[in-house]
């Protein structure tokens, strides 16, 4: 027998839902009228000897006193040895239930089946999920077969040529990656041979112990607090309902402690994965630092110690991506990510060259080496196409992405296609989103799905240039873009915080939870509904496909893939893409 007690005369809907669920599960229930006093309730409990008393109540100052009195009276009456007391309500948390003297507390978002499971002594349905909650392999089930044979042939030929070309060359980053790997395997710091391949600022940091400007070492006290924070487990406090999508958020506050705090907040709000952002100067500097380093500005410094500390702060099921895609430390970053236990990385030669500021020749050598390392660590990586934000048409960006995918497959790596969901310059100039934000983004996924059997992970983050400084608007548009990814059968999605573009300073944890909440609310709203695209989507699909074919055909005419990048085949100066200059002249023949 289960006694249901609506202490709140108005808000007893939840209790009635639970009553129905309990009765359907074969339990006898008695629902008391509202507004009974604690002694009347316990008197009834003495008579009917229930196994459980379920109390629902919204909380205010006085309500706590009434609930505490009820628990106290039940204990004094000696009924708690046979009767467990449960409290539920909008403000209830387990900590509050504990303070009030109850055996369990259920807060917002609790389903009747969770309460039934608790009463029956079974793991809650959400706990069951949590137990089996494991890292999802975004690449599982994909064959990487080119469904479009003509595009596949072009991409593979370009990949073959690039592999041969890169095989004859090396760079300081390629050599540093080898040295770093050996050092990590032996659990030691890198030596002078490494420093000889670094920029002066990095050399000085190793030799004098003085970290670069705007960074400092964490004190031993701070390291201790960071470890303590990392061990704390908050679990997932929110039900996850984003339609099978794996949901990624970005972090990179500069400070590893704040990173772990933000990660824990994001995970508690339903994030499945997190993406590490490093400072932009990290991409322009030869060599990676060591030690527990905090950075005054955006971007968290990649060091073995920082990555390990962040790793320790991750719940076991959280996917962790450390980006390596754009700079002068690409292969070494993959090595560090692999040794630190990262699940994913990010590599794209064309984007890093056209939108990331690195010399195409240099990044081609480094990118191929990085892909080989990713394959060695069995670490899938996404091929991001953020050069669209510079103005590169989606089709051109996709052409180089498909060459990268073919290349990755050849070295045994597992790539993930990352189209942008954004209102890019191409879209604005072409008026492709004059009616809606759906058709053009959908066309991108459709065209990629037609060409290659590979996972798709829109990002990064979705909704670029559709968000404003209004946090409600930003959250809403983020939620809708994420749902669009779900409608299109994407495997994952990366979302921004609600103040990402307009924060003017550090991003707050609250802004991260804004968008996570928005995604869940939007996913809950749409459920399993489908969307209908307009005829424009098909026009965009054909446009993007033609751009891909044109770019690949053009690239084949160039002396090499790398030269094709310099020549603007995958994004020209007119488009807004400029081949980077960092690391120019550092590639040498083996």
């Amino acid at each position: 027998m289960i006694l249901l007690v609506p202490l709140d005369p108005v808000h007893d809907v939840g209790l009635k839902m639970i009553k129905r669920a309990l009765e359907e599960a074969g339990h006898d229930t008695v629902l008391l009228p509202p507004d009974m006093t604690p002694s009347e309730i316990i008197a009834r409990a003495e008579k009917i000897r229930p196994s459980h008393i379920l109390v629902s109540r919204t909380l205010g100052y006085q309500a706590e006193e009434v609930l505490a009195r009820l628990a106290d009276l039940a204990d004094a009456a000696g009924i708690r040895e046979r009767t467990r007391m449960i409290i539920g309500g909008m403000a209830v948390r387990p900590e509050l239930a504990q303070e009030l003297g109850f055996d369990a507390g259920f807060g917002p978002g609790t389903s009747p089946s969770e309460v039934v499971a608790f009463i029956e002594g079974r793991p809650a349905p959400s706990e069951q999920c949590e137990e089996v909650r494991s890292k999802k392999d975004l690449t599982a089930g994909y064959t990487y077969r080119f469904k479009d044979e003509s595009v596949g042939k072009l991409a593979e030929e370009l990949a073959d040529e690039l592999l041969l070309w890169a095989g004859e060359r090396t760079s300081p980053a390629v050599e540093r990656a080898e040295i770093r790997h050996a050092a990590l395997m032996e659990g030691r710091s890198v030596g002078e041979d490494y420093l000889a391949l670094c920029d002066e600022v990095v050399r000085a940091a190793y030799r004098t112990g003085t970290p670069p400007k705007k960074t400092r070492h964490l004190t031993s006290d701070e390291q201790r607090h960071l470890r303590t924070l990392g061990k704390r487990q908050y679990g997932a406090s929110r039900p996850r309902s984003h339609a099978g999508l794996v949901l990624f958020v970005q972090y990179g506050t500069g400070c590893p402690f704040m990173d772990v705090a933000h990660i824990k907040a994001a995970v508690a709000w339903g994030a499945d994965g997190v993406v590490h952002f490093d400072p932009s100067w990290g991409a322009r500097t030869e060599g990676l630092l060591e030690g527990w380093l905090t950075h005054e500005e955006d971007g968290s410094v990649i060091t073995p110690e920082n990555l390990r500390a962040i790793r320790e702060g991750l719940e076991p099921w959280v996917l962790w991506q450390v980006r390596a895609h754009r700079g002068l430390n690409t292969p070494e970053t993959v090595v560090l990510a692999g040794h630190s236990g990262a699940d994913l990385t990010k590599i794209n030669i064309a984007y890093g060259s056209l939108g990331g500021g690195t010399d195409p020749e240099r990044l081609a050598v480094d990118g191929v080496a990085a892909m080989r390392w990713a394959a060695r660590f069995s670490m899938p990586f996404d091929i991001v196409t953020n050069e669209e934000l510079s103005g590169v048409p989606a089709g051109k960006a996709f052409a180089s992405m498909l060459v990268m995918a073919a290349l990755a497959k050849k070295v045994g790596a597992r790539p993930i296609l990352q189209p942008l969901f954004c209102k890019s310059p191409e879209v604005m100039i072409g008026g492709y989103m004059s009616d809606n934000y759906v058709d053009f983004n959908a066309a991108k996924v459709l065209v990629l799905r037609d060409i290659l059997d590979a996972p798709v992970w829109p990002g990064a983050p979705v909704g670029f240039l559709t968000q404003t400084e209004d946090r409600v608007q930003s959250s809403l548009t983020t939620g809708l873009h994420a749902c669009l990814a779900g409608f299109l059968g994407a495997d994952a999605v990366t979302i921004a915080s609600s103040d990402e573009a307009y924060s003017g300073g550090p991003i707050t944890a609250a802004a991260r939870t804004d968008t996570l909440t928005a995604v869940q609310a939007a996913a809950r709203f749409f459920g399993r509904c489908a969307i209908t695209l307009t005829a424009e989507a098909e026009r965009f699909r054909r446009l993007i496909y033609a751009q891909i074919c044109d770019a690949l055909t053009e690239a084949q005419k160039a002396p090499s893939f790398v030269q094709a990048i310099y020549d603007g085949v995958f994004g020209s100066r007119e488009d807004g893409a400029h081949p980077g200059r960092n690391g120019r002249g550092t590639v040498r023949m083996k």
Partner: protein
């Protein structure tokens, strides 16, 4: 082992501050001690007022009983963690030794029997003194302790005279004469040479009392009430004809049972009425009040809905409470730990 509960009449009356003071004093005096709570100590801010709450800081070597989740989330380090077969809303209760000092979130058992087992586990660890922090106005788990300290404060009421009257009532209810009898599981009385039990261990409402009074005869001498008794039941007992009440002994399990419900003043008035009728009101087990700590603080709600720290006049409060009770009344912030530990030592010397 001596077990002391710090109980309060409401939130923010100074329970945790009193606990901290006693923990510090016990450590200074070299008394091995263990700590648990009948609720949850660990919030940085009050959930309603959003004002800061005191936290329990543990030194190395102290013992603690808290829920497993709380060990993981605490700042202190622990060794020899033993999981007790006792559940709480935050997972099983564990007993541990503090190996690295720091703040600890303390969430202990909410049931009396579990509190007894937890205190015993802390004693097995080596605690000579076990301190139990109360929660809100809850007191029932204190029915297994040896002494209580009452934390009274302006958070309960800004009316100092009322606070004093309430303290006095609590002191008197905890000082009822002791009649050492075996307590059965149900309300029991003897009539015509045989023992009669009601179907309940408590006197919860008028109906249960009427059932008792209906069956009572003049020959019946002693009525045992092992579990709870409410004000409604005490009030109904007061309708007993004086002839029937005269000379009958009413034995409650302990004084704490008369405090459950958080209406001590009313309970004491009703007990006095029973005494006037001729009942001899006793308890089976003494749980003496050791001292009262006074806290002038209260959270004041502003017009904008936020709360701010506020205080009643401390001297007025101390004077009023001291006039009202016989036990020492201590300023919660002023050497309260040392004074309380001296009181504990006096008990040990007896």
């Amino acid at each position: 082992m001596t077990c002391i509960a710090v109980i309060g009449t409401a939130k923010n009356t100074g329970k945790t501050t009193t606990m901290s003071a006693m923990m510090n004093a016990a450590r200074e005096m070299g008394v091995p001690y263990g700590v648990t709570s009948m609720g949850y100590d660990g919030e940085e801010l009050d959930s309603i007022t959003l004002l800061p709450k005191p936290r329990l800081y543990f030194r190395e070597g102290a013992y603690v009983a808290t829920a497993r989740e709380c060990l993981d989330a605490s700042e202190a380090g622990f060794s020899n963690v033993e999981i007790l077969p006792l559940d709480s809303a935050l997972g099983p209760i564990c007993v541990a030794t503090v190996s690295k000092p720091g703040l600890v979130i303390v969430a202990g058992p909410a049931r009396s029997r579990h509190m007894r087992l937890t205190a015993a586990a802390l004693a097995r660890r080596g605690s000579r003194l076990v301190l139990v922090d109360g929660a809100l106005g809850r007191v029932s788990p204190a029915s297994v302790v040896d002494f209580v300290v009452l934390a009274q404060g302006a958070s309960r009421s800004r009316d100092v005279a009322q606070l004093a009257r309430e303290c006095s009532a609590i002191e008197r209810l905890l000082a009822l004469p002791v009649k050492e009898v075996f307590m059965p599981g149900r309300v029991t009385y003897r009539a015509a040479g045989r023992t009669v039990s009601l179907g309940t261990g408590s006197l919860m409402d008028e109906a249960s009392v009427r059932a008792l009074l209906h069956r009572l005869s003049e020959g019946c001498g002693q009525i045992l009430v092992p579990n709870a008794v409410t004000c409604a039941a005490l009030s109904e007992l007061g309708t007993c004809p004086p002839g029937l009440a005269q000379g009958k002994t009413l034995v409650f399990a302990d004084g704490i049972r008369l405090l459950v419900g958080n209406c001590a003043e009313h309970s004491w008035e009703l007990v006095q009425r029973l005494q006037t009728l001729g009942f001899i009101v006793c308890v089976a087990r003494a749980i003496p009040l050791l001292a009262v700590t006074a806290n002038p603080y209260y959270p004041r709600a502003g017009a904008d809905g936020t709360y701010r720290e506020a205080y009643v006049d401390k001297q007025t409060l101390l004077r009023a409470l001291r006039e009202a009770v016989a036990v020492p009344v201590i300023d919660v912030r002023d050497e309260s730990g040392r004074v309380l530990m001296e009181l504990v030592h006096k008990q040990w010397e007896r």
